[in-house]
Amino acid sequence: MAKGESPLKQFEIQPIIDINLFGLDISFTNSALWMTVTTAFILIFFTAPFLKSKKTNSVSDLYPSRMQVAAELGFSFINSLLNDTVGKEGKKYFSLVFTLFMFILFGNLFGMIPYSFTFTSHIIVTLALAMGVFIFVTVLGFVKHGVKFFSFFVIPGLPIYMLPLLIPIEIISYLSRPISLSVRLFANMLAGHTLLKVFAGFVSALGIFGILPLVFIIALTGLEILIAFLQAYVFAILTCLYINDALHLH
């Protein structure tokens, strides 16, 4: 980073290929580039180990290779996550939660590579993902329960006179789900990357004492990788919980 450059410059969108479709600017930007990288990596990582279709029908077919073990790890992680929160009905939503988790996780992780771009640090991206989840679970709730879905806002076992106060609160908390979901991810990525850049600025500014912020940056990078996992996990588990709410109401 050049001296005096804003630590927020890393979040700037730079168009790589200008594309204009029906008057809409859908330029291929650095954000889209890293979405491409993330998508390609996930697809290769999880598909390639299972592509070889050698069917010798021997026991050796059943021994997973190293890459297969790695892919299985991700698979069974999401599987147990859905099983613990939603139960057996959750199997239908497996690929949605899996896609969300992997997309956010590898988006976050690739964002840790220097000079790369973290598309999850943009509120519009996280908001779109969160709105997608929000609309999906709301539609799911209506499809499963019809008008009864509105009983979700009525907490059972509450005295009647409390309802006028609590129903609006419940509705507000329900509507704020996509906002909290998206802002949580966006703010974590933004804060982490900004903090790293700010301390990176100190390294060159402090001369020989720059070793101290350098050490701090190394530790912080580890923490950021943890947060990359954690935020993807939080997004995925909240999606699971919302699906569970839509399926079982209370």
């Binding site: 927020l8 410059k9 979040f11 700037e12 969108i13 168009p15 809409l24 600017d25 859908i26 330029s27 291929f28 930007t29 954000s31 889209a32 979405m35 491409t36 993330t38 998508t39 996930i42 697809l43 999880f46 598909t47 299972f50 592509l51 026991v59 077919d61 059943l62 997973p64 297969q68 892919a71 299985e72 698979f75 497996f94 690929s95 949605l96 899996f98 896609t99 992997m102 997309f103 598309f119 640090s121 943009h122 509120i123 519009i124 991206v125 779109a128 993902l129 997608g132 966006f186 933004l190």
Partner: protein, 152 residues
């Protein structure tokens, strides 16, 4: 903050997010995840199959051991039976043999006795004849009577 300032790129970001999310979701749903699931199921089936096979084999082994033991006791019983039979048979045979031998010996004794008596009689009669002969000879010599005229 570029996230809120670069509004002109919102459409582009949403568009590419949609494109890549849909691609990722579709490929994962229809190709990748079924493959992983099939692989895991194959292994689970194999393990389950072998666990059930193991139970079967253990049962089989137990029945074989039972069978073997039953056959072993049966064979032991048969063997002792055969031994007893053989003992009885041998005893019987030896008894009959002894009896037969005794009979034979007695028969021979009897035969010998008979022969002895016969020979004794013969010898006595012969002796009589000889005695007569010598007596007549003696008498004829003494009396000078023809041998043929002498009767004793």
């Amino acid at each position: 903050m570029p996230q809120l300032e670069q509004v002109e790129f919102f459409i582009s970001q949403l568009f590419w997010l949609g494109v890549f999310f849909v691609i990722l979701f579709s490929v994962l749903t229809y190709i990748t995840l079924p493959k992983i699931r099939a692989f895991l199921n194959q292994r689970d089936d194999f393990v389950k199959l072998h666990i059930s096979k193991q139970d079967e084999l253990i049962k089989k082994a137990e029945s074989i051991i039972e069978n073997y033991e039953a056959k072993l006791t049966e064979a032991k019983n048969q063997a002792s039976e055969i031994i007893n039979d053989a003992k009885d048979k041998a005893l019987q045979e030896s008894e009959t043999l002894i009896k037969a031998t005794e009979e034979k010996i007695q028969q021979e004794i009897r035969q010998t006795e008979e022969r002895v008596t016969k020979e004794k009689d013969l010898a006595i009669s012969e002796l009589n004849v000889q005695l007569k002969d010598s007596a007549t000879n003696f008498i004829s010599k003494v009396t000078k009577i023809e041998k043929g005229n002498i009767t004793i």
